[in-house]
């Protein structure tokens, strides 16, 4: 029966069109800032030559390379009579000269050297930065920013202590001492996990709600339920529809994720960076760097991210399934789902900021996808719990599964007119 249900999805061109549209949209997001990231290969050269780990040997080698290149830089304008140690010193004093006298190739070489130096300088300063990092202070700033107080403030500060311990472990592991694309310049983490992650999550949600509502309501919308639910399979047909929904939704969401990631990784080369810890200082985009709760490589983080995205979509599927059983109309289901999502996102904004209830209100499947770039990290005070994502997904999975069983129980006893 599942096969027949799946055919109904495949034969609906709207899903194929939507999927292609979403992939194209994500492609636009990926290509949108490509020009600003044209110097990314500089890091690939560094990693190829010195590896991803920042150690004394790598720093010495880089310094040697800079010194060697500075000989060439200092010869570019002998009339100036000055000797520069670093390319940015030269660039700063020669803005007009650069564009009047240097060839494109020379300019490119100079700017790449400047970027190389930036990586070197950053790498050199990593330990100093981390020795001054204070998770509690970060939490206090965030508490002040969002106006938390009382019980909620206390809980966040307790979590900040945990984060502090994790920070110490991170430093001990040397997770921060790895080369990665400079977050402060390129914001690659935000591009991939926030912009694209959020886009995929919302696009997936639309697909999932439409697919699940279509399948579950199909017999009601075609008036075939008289025949379908009086057959031997009867009302258990809805279980087949649920199984077909799982398969169709997993396929649709995975296709969306896979197509987006394929485009992303074809445009931006991560080949040498897959095993760099996600908590590398280079990845940080704000004064307080990304700190994952566990030592995760970029690749592991991407896998967890995909898993979390997929599971969140399955939660939406379960909710849609139950709504469809009660409402029996795809349009109604879509708008009720949107209303449910809107209320879930709005409720935390009206809850008192001095009780733990404000934190509990954030444990909802819709808030979950608002900040996918800080999944498994302690960078958001409302989600500053090591198992926030797992707890949110597990708790709502239980709620939605129970709701699904209850809906089926009622459906089996419901008059079908």
């Amino acid at each position: 029966m599942i096969k027949y249900e799946l055919i109904k999805v495949v034969k609906s061109p709207i899903f194929i069109i939507l999927l292609l549209f979403f992939v194209a949209l994500n492609g636009l997001i990926i290509f949108d800032h490509k020009n600003e990231r044209e110097n990314l290969p500089v890091l690939q050269n560094i990693v190829e030559q010195y590896g991803t780990k920042i150690d004394d040997e790598a720093l010495a080698g880089m310094k040697k390379e800079i010194d060697h290149e500075m000989v060439w830089v200092n010869e570019l304008n002998p009339k100036s009579g000055k000797q520069y140690q670093f390319p940015y010193e030269f660039i700063k004093g020669h803005e007009a000269f650069l564009y009047q006298h240097l060839t494109d190739r020379e300019l490119n070489r100079l700017f790449n050297l400047n970027l190389f130096t930036q990586y070197y300088e950053t790498a050199k300063s990593v330990d100093d930065i981390y020795s001054e990092l204070d998770a509690t202070e970060f939490a206090r700033q965030q508490i002040k920013k969002y106006g938390l107080s009382g019980e909620a403030e206390e809980t966040v500060l307790n979590q900040a202590n945990l984060l502090e311990k994790r920070l110490q472990q991170l430093v001990k592991n040397g997770e921060h001492r790895h080369f990665f694309y400079l977050g402060s310049v390129y914001e690659m983490h935000s591009l991939l996990f926030k912009k694209l992650g959020r886009a995929i999550a919302f696009e997936g949600m639309i697909l999932v709600v439409l697919i699940t509502a279509l399948l579950t309501n199909y017999e009601f919308e075609h008036r075939t339920f008289f025949v379908a639910f009086t057959s031997k399979r009867g009302r258990n047909l809805l279980w087949d529809k649920l199984a077909a929904s799982v398969i169709a939704n997993v396929c649709a969401v995975m296709l969306l994720i896979a197509a987006t990631l394929i485009i992303y990784f074809s445009v931006y080369d991560y080949s040498n960076l897959l095993f760099v810890p996600i908590s590398s200082y280079f990845n940080s985009e704000t004064p307080f760097p990304y700190i994952s709760w566990w030592n995760l490589s970029f690749l592991q983080y991407v896998c967890l991210f995909v898993g979390c995205l997929l599971l969140s979509q399955l939660l939406y599927m379960l909710l849609t399934f139950s709504l469809s059983i009660w409402l029996k109309n795809s349009y109604l289901v879509f708008f009720t789902f949107a209303l449910f999502a809107g209320v879930s996102l709005w409720l935390p904004s009206v809850v008192s900021l001095n009780s733990n209830f404000i934190l509990i209100m954030h444990v909802n499947p819709f808030y979950l996808i608002m900040n996918p770039h800080v999944w498994f990290m302690g960078n958001n005070i409302f989600t500053m719990f090591p198992y926030f994502e797992a707890v949110t997904i597990a708790a709502w999975a239980v709620i939605f599964i129970l709701l699904g069983f209850f809906s089926m129980y009622k459906f089996k006893r419901q008059p079908l007119n």
Partner: protein, 289 residues
């Protein structure tokens, strides 16, 4: 044996059916009542789409709700509003319904062409149903009801949309099938059941008024049906004076049939009552005494 045991169905304060008690053995049963009398409600309870508020329906002694799929696999059902997938062909749609009915693909592929031939749709079995007429769709509905060779065949207004030839063919088909199964056929068209039903069930005032063979039903009006002819100009006067149950034009005159306990005029001849007389009398003038 299928027993509807003192079943009532309420929708809030609205009574759809009250204390219905029926027993069905193999044979054809015509459920005859005007629209809105509760035929479809009874049909829907028999196919487990809705459930009785009071009483229960048993098949071979077991409640059909408890029997679940064991009961439904014996069912063939043609609903009043037969839904279909417009972008499917009859063959493909029947294949899908076969799967729902637990029929193997191999068996279904053999059976579907036979059934579509039986209902006269063999030429269009691979054409999408989007452009099918109401009668063609109804025939697809009849074919699907027969897919699993049902022991209980429930047909709600099966002849709606069928032309006279198709109706005749349908009646013949039902007669062939009636040998070893229960066929319950609801209709408000007397001719659909007149020649084929073993028993007629009449619903009035939300409950069963009669469940009798046609002959016995007609006997209820035996000697009380009169027929006479009148000129067109007298027709209106006639209508006002007598409770006519039917009238027709014949040879430039009006022929009236009516019920009367006594012969109003010796020129008026007493005629044999028909099922239509019973139907029109019951639903036109109130229940028989």
């Amino acid at each position: 044996m299928l027993i509807v045991d003192h079943v009532s169905k309420y929708y809030g304060n609205f009574i759809a059916l009250e204390n219905v008690h029926l027993q069905f053995d193999n044979g054809i049963y015509g459920l005859l009542a005007p629209n809105g009398a509760g035929k479809t409600t009874l049909m829907k309870m028999l196919v487990t789409l809705i459930f009785p508020t009071k009483g229960e329906i048993r098949y071979n002694g077991e409640n059909i709700i408890h029997l679940g799929s064991k009961y439904r696999e014996l069912l063939g059902y043609l609903p009043q509003q037969f839904g279909y997938y417009k972008h499917y062909t009859p063959a493909k749609y029947l294949l899908y319904l076969s799967a729902l009915k637990g029929i193997s693909k191999h068996e279904a592929k053999e059976k579907i062409p036979e059934l579509l031939k039986l209902v006269g749709l063999e030429d269009v079995m691979h054409k999408k149903m989007r452009k099918f007429s109401g009668g063609m769709i109804q025939r697809v509905g009849i074919a699907q009801a027969l897919l699993n060779d049902p022991k209980i065949l429930i047909l709600d207004e099966p002849t709606a949309g069928l032309d006279p030839t198709e109706r005749a063919r349908f009646r013949k088909l039902l007669t062939q099938l009636a040998n070893n199964r229960i066929i319950i056929l609801s209709t408000h068209i007397v001719s659909d059941v007149e020649s084929i039903a073993n028993e007629i069930i009449m619903i009035k005032d939300k409950t069963i008024l009669y469940k009798k063979p046609i002959r016995e039903l007609c006997q209820l009006l035996s000697g009380r049906i009169y027929e006479t002819a009148a000129d067109f100009q007298d027709a209106e006067i006639f209508r006002k004076r007598f409770a006519t149950i039917s009238e027709k034009q014949e040879n430039g005159q009006m022929i009236f049939r009516f019920v009367s306990d006594e012969q109003p005029n010796e020129n008026w001849k007493s005629v044999e009552p028909t099922l239509e007389d019973v139907f029109l009398h019951v639903y036109g003038e109130g229940a028989l005494a």
